[in-house]
């Protein structure tokens, strides 16, 4: 289960990405994209994120995970194709020299923070 380590990496990425004047406890949502090839289970990632967020300085943050399908390109005939089964063979020419265009890697894509005005107004409804 590498979700715990990845959740810790997400926390560090958020901390490194927050503007200096934005307190980490104002973070409400953290958005990530996870490639299907990475074998990360979104529910597990959210579960461990919630388990450690209090200690990691993001007590009010929820994690939103978007899974990205795998898309490939054949290096022989340049045909681009998506895959559902883990078979990296070009459906057009049968070649096995295939590069993955997307669907691999974990990206932090955005953060939502509570704005100061909302705090001052006592508006705590972020649903």
């Amino acid at each position: 289960m590498h979700e715990l380590y990845i959740a810790e990496c997400i926390m560090k990425s958020v901390a490194a990405s927050l503007p200096g004047d934005v307190p980490s406890d104002s973070v409400r949502e953290v958005r990530v994209q996870v490639g299907q090839l990475d074998a990360v289970i979104p529910d597990t990632l959210i579960f461990v994120f919630d388990a450690i967020k209090g200690k990691s300085g993001l007590p009010n943050a929820n994690l939103s995970v978007e899974q990205i399908d795998v898309k490939c390109r054949c290096r022989a005939c340049t045909h681009e194709f998506g895959i559902e089964l883990p078979v990296f063979v070009c459906p057009q020419c049968g070649g096995g020299d295939v590069e993955v265009l997307h669907g691999r890697g974990i990206l932090l894509t955005g953060i939502t923070v509570e704005n100061e005005e909302a705090k001052e107004d006592g508006n705590s409804d972020h649903s």
């Binding site: 590498h2 074998a39 096995g96 894509t109 939502t112």
Partner: protein
Amino acid sequence: MEIPIIRDVLEESNLRAQENRALFDKHGVFAVNIMSSPGSGKTTLLQKTIPALKERGFSCAVIEGDITSTIDSERLQPLGVPVVQANTEPFGGDCHLGSHLVQAALKHLDLSAIDFLFIENIGNLVCPAEFYLGENRRVVVLSLPEGEDKPLKYPLMFRECSVCLLNKMDLAPHLEVDVERIKSNIRKTNGQIAILPMSAKTGEGIDQWIAWLLRARNGPR
């Protein structure tokens, strides 16, 4: 307020890995990350590989990854090469070696005296594939008793590796396993991967594995 970002979550991990790689390059170390399921024969492979390389005049060292215990390190002690144990238990019991752990282990090695550094990753076909450690090559060991379906169940591992060592070939007559189907499934996940059938126990196929290592070390890193 929305803050749009595009940032690789593993940025810090990859940075540590690049630092490791810079150290390998500086000292002429060829680092090989060996991955597999538990029990597929990684340690036995090293028990055969290291003497074969020593015979040819190469010096070796091992970073031995385990969640807990020093059992594998103890098995390698008689080989007389530096072995650094890297346990992940103090770091939360991670099921893979991280680049920071490898970096910590490197401090215990005299890299200028090492030709081949073997990083025996934690037995697991899922997580280790995800994390770059700074290695020159990635190797997956798949043993026959694990069955034909494993490459299709753990495609990232087979996509990430340059070579698959098909281990425990000596068991083939005793198993209902279709070796050609295993090879075909490996190639479905990665058409470029080299497949080397072998038995670390009997020594069958070790020579072609050593030849592969020497070619890889002498070629573009």
